[in-house]
């Protein structure tokens, strides 16, 4: 039974169809890549999944504890609550806040005290704040960022900012994590490191991951299955070797490089 089922997803902006009749199935625990040339509609596809855009037609279903939930057309915060979290292609951290605050904000939906507790500082407030801090630090440990928890996010080196974005997304406790070009702007060394971490968090946190990536080597190396988007249409899907040898993919995408 698949965790995410996307069927006939279509999005048009006026006359332009950015995504057309796209299908996708992701099983629990998979690590899936979504590739495609520039302007193929990858980010639009992500924005549809996460509720930033409402689809023109089609359905997106997420399996939450055995129950299929239609998430297309829901607001982003609602989608996140159901269990889908994301990072952004162009980093969108809360850049003037501390590392710790970035994480604590993402944990907001799991905080268990109400406005009166916040205003009058009940015991519950103190207990929950303690818990938040502890859990945030545990998450930061994954990328060895704990010692930087009081730094302002924008002062971190670029690679760490990308890491922080992943941690922040994980802090919402997702079942499916969407990474939008996580290696963009990284050097080969950093990319290798990132690759390892992505695989690691998938195993340790029992996550399912969908990533958009330009860096083909990264996708081929860690993804179990790959979807290829071209001009808004899914033109192929399969194991990395299959994709490598797929004629349409080579024409559409690899053709540029080969």
């Amino acid at each position: 039974m698949s965790l995410l089922t996307v069927e006939k997803l279509t999005k048009s902006f006026g006359g332009l169809t950015a995504v057309s009749n796209a299908n996708m199935h992701i099983e629990k625990g998979e690590l899936i890549g979504l590739i495609g040339p520039n302007g193929a509609g990858k980010t639009t596809f992500f924005n549809l999944l996460t509720g930033v855009y409402a689809p023109t037609s089609g359905s997106i279903k997420l399996d939450v504890n055995g129950e299929k939930k239609e998430i297309s057309g829901l607001k982003p915060y609602h989608v996140t609550k159901i269990g889908l979290a994301r990072t952004f292609q162009n980093i969108r951290l809360f850049k003037d806040l501390t590392v710790l605050d970035n994480i604590r904000i993402a944990m907001h939906q799991n905080v268990d005290y109400k406005l009166p507790s916040a205003l009058f500082r009940s015991n519950k407030y103190y207990e929950e704040e303690e818990r938040l801090k502890k859990e945030a630090e545990e998450l930061l440990d994954i990328f060895k960022l704990t010692h930087k928890k009081h730094e302002i996010a924008k002062n971190l080196p670029y690679g760490e900012q990308r890491h922080l974005e992943i941690v922040r997304a994980m802090a919402t406790k997702p079942v499916l994590l969407l990474l939008d070009e996580p290696a963009a702007g990284m050097n080969p060394n950093e990319t290798v490191q990132l690759t390892e971490t992505i695989a690691k968090i998938r195993d340790e946190f029992d996550l399912t991951i969908l990533l958009i990536e330009h860096d083909m080597s990264l996708v081929m190396k860690i993804c179990e299955r790959i979807y290829v988007l071209d001009y808004g249409t899914m033109i192929a899907s399969g194991k990395p070797e299959e994709i490598k040898n797929n004629k349409r993919v080579i024409e559409a995408y690899l053709g540029e490089d080969v």
């Binding site: 996460t50 930033v52 915060y77 979290a85 809360f94 806040l97 907001h108 015991n123 704040e129």
Partner: protein, 316 residues
């Protein structure tokens, strides 16, 4: 009770000490009744500025209609207090004024807070103008003539109690998960929403809280100055409040407090130059923005400066 920790108890002692000190100065006439007005203005402006700062500085929602909420509190408070001339009536008036202002804040906030930046500013300005015109045309508020002979119950004790209460509650709010949700909207609304934050809900929450405290300020104001009319709560008043917030630093509560004090002192000093007063005020505004556009403190708090040593031990 975890709220009774060392830091909070120390703060409480300081709060009580400041109260006692000023009370002694007033009783012994070191502070004359002329300067008492300045003190009242400062307290009311602190409440107004800090509550607007919650909306504009912390949540990033640009409001130019804060005086509208203040006027609701002022009228509600005055009307209750005029029919119930006792301290109980005064307090009921304040609470009622605050609640009505908050409700109006929610009603106004839900449709307008989806607007951004300048558009929101102009919409809130319009809302405040509509509130003013409604007061201008209502019978119970006595139209343009306004309400006269409002009993005075606002004194140093109540001014201080409500100012401190406002500061504590808003400070608690911005250091809570709900407050962080508001701050995240200011930082990046799209990212905030992607992190599971219902941005509309928290914008409206900040707006309603801001309106609530502006209502308190309004009720204190009407009870201190005996007399109110709709003209007092026009566009100009909203601007005055915004100027305090920006001057102190958007997102800095202590900045708002310092700016409220400084501007009140400057206004008092300029009193004798009546005709030049507004020109100097305007020039000051321009010069401050040209040389320190982030305000006195930016987003920092003055208390941050005393915490360097303990920076990493802090709970918040």
């Amino acid at each position: 009770m975890k709220v009774l920790n060392k830091r909070n108890i120390l703060t409480l002692i300081i709060i009580v000490a400041i109260y006692a000190l000023v009370q002694v100065l007033i009783t012994t006439k070191v502070i004359s009744s002329f300067y008492e007005i300045t003190i009242a203005t400062i307290c009311i402006n602190i409440i107004l500025a800090v509550s607007l700062n919650l909306v504009t500085g912390f949540t990033g929602q640009f409001s130019l209609g804060h005086a509208g909420f203040m006027s609701i509190g002022a009228y509600a408070g005055a009307l209750v207090n005029m029919s119930m001339k006792s301290t109980t009536g005064f307090l009921i008036g304040i609470i009622l004024g605050a609640i009505v202002a908050a409700i109006v804040g929610i009603i106004i906030g839900i449709p307008t807070l989806r607007l951004k930046g300048d558009y929101l500013a102009i919409a809130t300005l319009g809302m405040a103008e509509i509130i003013r015109v409604v007061f201008l045309n209502m019978e119970i508020t006595n139209g343009a003539a306004g309400l006269n002979g409002i009993p005075r119950f606002t004194n140093w004790l109540w001014l201080y109690v409500f100012t401190v209460l406002t500061l504590i509650l808003i400070s608690n709010f911005v250091k809570s998960s709900q407050g962080r949700a508001c701050i995240s909207i200011r930082e990046d609304e799209i990212a905030a929403e992607s992190m599971g934050i219902n941005t509309t809900r928290y914008k409206v929450m900040a707006f309603a809280l801001g309106a609530f405290f502006a209502g308190i300020a309004g009720a204190l104001y009407s009870s201190y100055f005996y007399f109110i009319n709709p003209t007092m709560f026009g566009f100009q008043k909203s601007i005055d409040i915004l100027v305090i917030v920006v001057f102190g630093g958007l997102g800095s509560m202590t900045g708002s407090v310092i700016a409220a004090v400084l501007l009140a002192v400057i206004t008092t000093l300029l009193q004798s130059l009546s005709s030049l007063r507004m020109i100097i005020y305007a020039l000051l505004l321009i010069v401050i923005m040209l040389f320190r556009p982030q305000g006195l403190l930016g987003t920092k708090e003055i208390t941050d400066m005393f915490k360097f040593g303990k920076k990493y031990e802090r709970v918040e």
